[in-house]
């Protein structure tokens, strides 16, 4: 896995990172950030649940950038490091994660790793804990997390070192509405 950017920044004076590289394709960038802001801005599914799925994806795909970013909305909803530490193999026995979060993690693992993991019990648990609208939003999120992580990795945008960084949760820019 390369930590040397395979694409240059399209923004003068900025290093290569996802935003500056995506700027080579302004229409894609604008559309992605509008979608991502809308997704995170929706409260159909709590930000904490979305972040649990995002962190699992980060760890399975080995996306170092994703792994070290925290979104502030989820932190404010109580998703601290002691909970995140349990989003690893063996999360089923965690005392920190809720049953809803464990169902979400099983779904996330099935989508990003092996669809066979979504057994009848796992599917029933997901549908017991989440409404159809929440499952749809979760499915969109995991799809985007996975695609974003793999695009980052294959474009060589992984940081060599990175501290844990709390960022503002993506939001829809009012000017874009």
């Amino acid at each position: 896995m390369s930590t040397t950017p395979r694409v240059s920044s399209a923004i003068a004076g900025e290093p290569a990172h996802f935003g500056s590289v995506l700027a080579h394709q302004p229409a894609i960038a604008e559309s992605f950030f509008a979608l991502y802001g809308r997704f995170w801005g929706s409260d159909v599914l709590a930000a904490r649940i979305k972040e649990v799925a995002r962190m699992r994806n980060a760890r399975v795909t080995e996306c170092g950038f994703c792994r070290n970013v925290r979104f502030d909305k989820a932190v404010a909803q109580g998703l601290g490091e002691e909970v995140l530490d349990d989003i690893t193999d063996g999360y089923e026995t965690s005392g920190m994660l809720t049953d809803t979060e464990k169902a979400v993690l099983r779904f996330t693992d099935a989508l990003i790793h092996d669809p066979e993991l979504l057994t009848g019990d796992a599917k029933a648990a997901l549908q017991r804990h989440l409404t159809p609208a929440q499952i749809a939003e979760l499915g969109l999120g995991v799809t985007l997390f996975l695609a974003l992580a793999k695009a980052l990795i294959t474009m060589g945008l992984e940081p060599e070192v990175m501290d844990r960084t709390v960022l503002p949760t993506p939001a829809v820019l009012e000017a874009a509405e």
Binding site: M1, S2, T4, R6, V7, S8, A10, V21, L22, H24, Q25, A27, I28, E30, S31, F32, A34, L35, R38, F39, S42, V44, T61, E62, F107, A110, L111, I112, P115, L118, K123, L126, Q127, P132, A133, I135, A136, E137, G139, L140, V142, T143, L144, L146, A147, L148, A149, K150, A151, I153, T154, M155, G156
Partner: protein, 122 residues
């Protein structure tokens, strides 16, 4: 329609944003290449069994397809040289769109394999 779009049917705003992102990504590349990349990735996932006849394709397109086939299970093993070859063929902006397309194609196949629309529909 992708599994993600189908699952979002009850949320027209998010569905519209997702369709726009998907469409803009595809519009940045040659439509024939887009179709081939999607087919190549789907085949790796066992979704689309139709083989791609590569005998009529140019070397650059074959490189792109070989690269796309690594996205589902070998994304961390793609080398700088492989990426450079695809970037040389597509140009830097094209390589960015291609990277998003291939990654999104992989994720959409996975959403289909877990039957995301069925989960939403109950």
């Amino acid at each position: 329609m992708s599994a993600v779009c189908a699952a979002l049917a009850a949320d027209p705003v998010l569905a519209s944003h997702y369709a726009d992102f998907r469409g803009k990504t595809q519009a940045a590349l040659n439509p024939a290449l887009v179709a081939l990349v999607r087919q190549a990735v789907a085949t790796v996932h066992g979704i689309d069994s139709a083989p791609i006849d590569e005998s009529t394709l140019d070397e650059g397109t074959r490189l792109c397809l070989a690269y796309a086939r690594r996205m589902p299970f070998e994304h961390t093993a793609i080398s700088d040289a492989e990426a450079a070859a695809v970037a040389l063929h597509l140009g830097e902006a094209g390589f960015v769109a291609f990277s998003v397309l291939a990654a999104l194609a992989d994720a959409e196949c996975r959403a289909e394999l877990v039957d995301l629309p069925g989960l939403v529909g109950g």
